[in-house]
Point group: D3
Chain length 167, copies 6
């Protein structure tokens, strides 16, 4: 059988990743079914929300979490995500949709980004149903209240989060 | 500059397309940004809904509507779409999401299809905002009531629909 | 105090009204706070849904239900509602929004109508909270199953519905 | 330790169950955590939708599916569910909520039932996340198209459905 | 007639209750139709939101508001609600659902809690339709702007809130 | 042709307008199709959110943006909007609905306002589809990240925002 080759497709998966969860990792794996290369772009998020982890720590945890995945790179960025996507010559931005209210926000973002950069498509992927409710915010809240988060994120993330919350 | 090559990615865009609208065509164009090949798969839909146009007519209108688009083919299929996607060795199924209630249904379909065929991803694309409200059902209803649908579908579709409704 | 006069504003309230409920009447009263004249436009609805009551019966029940309301007229229409609204020189179409899924459908209709007739605005009003769940379809279903619908529609509508379902 | 006794609580779980799925069975198990007795009430549904299975067949499949569950009985009913719930002296009606659009409909039903019978509460339970997308309608559609439904319903339901669709 | 006895069912109704509204009281009454005992569990909520009233004040207002209701107790708790529910040997957690966006959040919480403690069911109840829009946040906002909140909460809550906002 | 005169209808369009966008201006134009007079009421919003622009600046930008529109006035207000609407003898409050989650919040506000002032109706209008995603919050975020917002707001607003963010 002849294996046809196609264009090299590059997807960018932007987010705060504060910290990375099993839901994010699941989505990156799914994105690799469609893209030859997936750039996980970690937003510095200086303005609005204050991340718990530093940008370096968030990039570090993501690199560890995606170490075995071929075609994935992790980078931090500042400014508008569409500008970054353009600079990286990405074909599309990848976003996960978990629940309806999620989708509302994602829809708004995607329409705005399209207005700002019409050449970059946004594609939506659905995480595995067992991660449908998962969010970085949620696992931080559970960890703060002393709950067990080992089924929500890799062991080294759990450890980093526990250490962080103690400090 | 060196142009890297990647895997040949095949997406399948299933639907009833009764008949094709500008919204569908917009979505196919967007899909071509991510996939090297897009198979538009027209469902026979024997069981539940009764299409206005025959499967041959719907395939014919779609072929005409996508004539200029490289990498697009139009085919009809019977049975489960995931089985067809597997047979075609597609990497992913493509679905458009217009509004919330749409997404609900799409979400349910995608989760079910994932259960039936875990190896085929579903990706969601957003049509252009001016097609956000468009549906085949809607333009048939407007045409039936004597309204002008020329901004919703290509001229040859408008003509076919007008002829059909007179018969 | 000087009473200023303004433009004569005409609103059109289209629907199937099969049959009129307390929810519809509540909405007409609210519309009169904004419009000098409200035309209740009863759709013949030949194509898709088959109304239980004839167009004459539906117009008759509505006329009885709005008998005491100054500025309200009841008419039947065929074809596209925007065409009818234009013919009547209406400033706006009035629609009630009860629940979210309702709004989805209403949103789609309003955007389509705007495309078909950009000069006619659609305005949305909220019925009283005790009619938030009410629909003609629902009271027909309850009546069919032998339930008491006297708190959902005027006595003469209840009587007409009971008679109709027996026949 | 002393085991306190409480009031005997009776819940009624109404539906069409055409046919019973793993989602329904999961919900009945959950209801037993709150109610001492759960009556599964199978609606005859004469008026609107035409069930695929006869009322006898649907009751039979449910009885088989709940055979091992103490406190569960299966019955058919006609007319308004609130009337039936009252006759059975039920404390509450049980409904499963899967997705948003589901909830919309359920909300409307619950508000209407409360108006018809203010003494009977409606409580909502959430099925297991792997049944979040499951519906009787969906598995019938998949079965019709030749798909494998063995992970959606018990073996004897799969068999009955296959036999039914062949006839 | 013989009165059957059943298992003693204990429900836990967690929240911030800052302060208690007529909506909360309505929900507690409804919960008593299903549970023999309802524990109103007031979250200390140290981390995220800063309540207006102290935990003692919130518990005090709730005790006054539920004084006449047999089977109701009010307690404060810290940490994860599922841990508290387990310690109290509750059969289920009770949550009210008012509107769609509410339900989204509740759904996410319930799925997470189920993952953390699979043995504790979450049940949803619907408040009376006239409390469908009510929230503690809303009445605090109205009170701050000088509005009359006497139809939203008991007189002693109104008084406490007025006093608090003046200080 | 005789031009009939009607009652002078006054609508109030409340908001924070921080700053005014093309979406707001579009809505004001639409409101003028139904109302003889539209009062744009700028909320001081002392309590909860901290506006970027002072109340004077926001009123100033709005006045400039609506300079050419006959029947429009811009004012600031404090306290409850319904009280202000009453004082102004407005017939209705005008709100724009963009997306579903929007509508949820709007619905809650409208029901609460109705409870506080049953004589003032809330009417909902839909902005043009190209402003469906637009919000003051969004354009501030884009401007902060260095994005081009010239298609979202008039040039003098863009200039004011750029100057403000530099300071």
């Amino acid at each position: 059988m002849l294996l046809m080759s196609g264009l090299h497709r590059k997807g960018i998966y932007p987010g705060t990743f504060d910290p990375v969860t099993y839901g994010h990792i699941d989505l990156i794996r799914r994105a690799l079914r469609v893209f030859d290369e997936v750039i996980v772009a970690v937003a510095d998020s200086g303005s609005e929300k204050k991340p718990l982890f530093s940008i370096q720590a968030r990039v570090g945890l993501l690199k560890k979490a995606t170490a075995g995945l071929k075609g994935v790179s992790v980078e931090s960025f500042e400014g508008l995500v569409v500008e970054y996507a353009r600079k990286k010559k990405a074909d599309a931005m990848i976003r996960g949709v978990r629940m309806i209210s999620d989708f509302e926000y994602e829809f708004q973002m995607a329409l705005t980004n399209r207005k700002l950069a019409g050449d970059i498509e946004t594609i939506f992927l659905m995480p595995h149903e067992s991660y449908a409710y998962l969010s970085s915010r949620l696992i931080k809240e559970i960890a703060r209240l002393g709950g067990n988060i080992s089924s929500f994120a890799p062991p080294f993330v759990v450890k980093a989060l526990t250490r962080k919350l103690k400090s």
